[in-house]
Subunit: 198 residues, 2 copies
């Protein structure tokens, strides 16, 4: 005997999500049946709406309801600076700090020879196009501090610098509140290299 | 800056599921946006359908599209035996074994004085009613081997036995394929107590 069809279909849908296997899918499906009808309806509507109403900004690749996105359309933002990130979630993290007022460019990935991801597979061509036509003076490379992140930053820096545009990288060092004792070696190395006079 | 409304709403929905916090909800929401449109539509439909088309059987408490459920309506099943489980998923697990051919009764919970769950809060009254009107000769108590599961089994056994109905409990002992060395003490105790001549 199998689960009734509506529940096995729902389990199949849950199993398409990352990190959710058969047992978790069953638990979530049974949980769904016991949820308020209103919550389930809202859930279904928000799935449809997120897929239908959200797009990637044709300029910067950020996620948005309108194209271009709010940041690209905002006249008050500093159009001379573009901050390059791997992922949409990085934009949100930086916006929460309220310290950066320039534009963004979301790569939607990272160069990775091992996984076969080359410059054409991520949003690098659209970045280069922006640099030709816009009045950009500085590109801040905010890819992650991973091996691929560093390699992508180096690659982009070599492409962009010859055009006379200033290229910078976010500072790497000890996290605020962290113990030197427990910091990994690369982080400590970056912290010593990047030391500043006080 | 916040996430666009469609994605923050979807994150709120994901966060209503058990074991999913803000970070996982964000990851799932962004994953959803990159899913095939068809998969997302199927997901939304299956949520609605699971909530709308599934009910609990008015006789045994099993989950079903039709009431009474397929098992309760099946004329070929042995109506003299009722197997009592805590949860609908236990029914599915037992049905997969294809060894038991009687009826079921799903308690939808377990007696727990600590959480304030008494006999009236779970499907015990409906079980007692079935025992009065049906030609039941044996009740198999298949609650889990937890403290509450054992207590519930003992409670039910004391209620049912005086009516002249045979009451049994699933065998407890070593799992097939398990090492004695790593078995917990209670399991070993149950295995020794329940030893059988070969």
């Amino acid at each position: 005997m199998q689960y009734p069809e509506p529940i096995s279909k729902l389990m199949d849908s849950y199993m398409k999500l990352p990190g959710i296997g058969a047992k978790t899918a069953a638990r979530l499906a049974f949980f769904t049946i016991d949820m308020d009808e209103e919550d389930v309806t809202d859930f279904a509507k928000s799935l449809i709406s997120a897929k239908r109403d959200l797009h990637y900004c044709s300029i910067c690749g950020n996620i948005t309801e309108s194209d271009p996105c709010d940041i690209c359309r905002d006249k008050d933002r500093d159009r001379s600076t573009i901050l390059v990130v791997e992922d949409v979630k990085d934009v949100m993290a930086l916006e929460r700090v309220r310290e950066y007022h320039g534009l963004y460019h979301v790569l939607h990935g990272i160069l990775s020879p091992i996984e076969g991801t080359g410059p054409e597979d991520i949003n690098i061509p659209s970045l280069l196009k922006r640099l030709q036509s816009e009045e950009v003076q500085e590109v801040i490379l905010a890819t992650n501090a991973s091996a691929e992140g560093e390699a992508t930053a180096t690659y982009l820096s070599r492409l962009i610098r010859p055009a006379g545009i200033k290229v910078t990288r976010l500072a790497h060092g000890l996290s605020v509140g962290s113990d030197i004792e427990y910091a990994d070696e690369i982080t400590l190395l970056k912290a010593v290299e990047g030391r500043r006079e006080i």
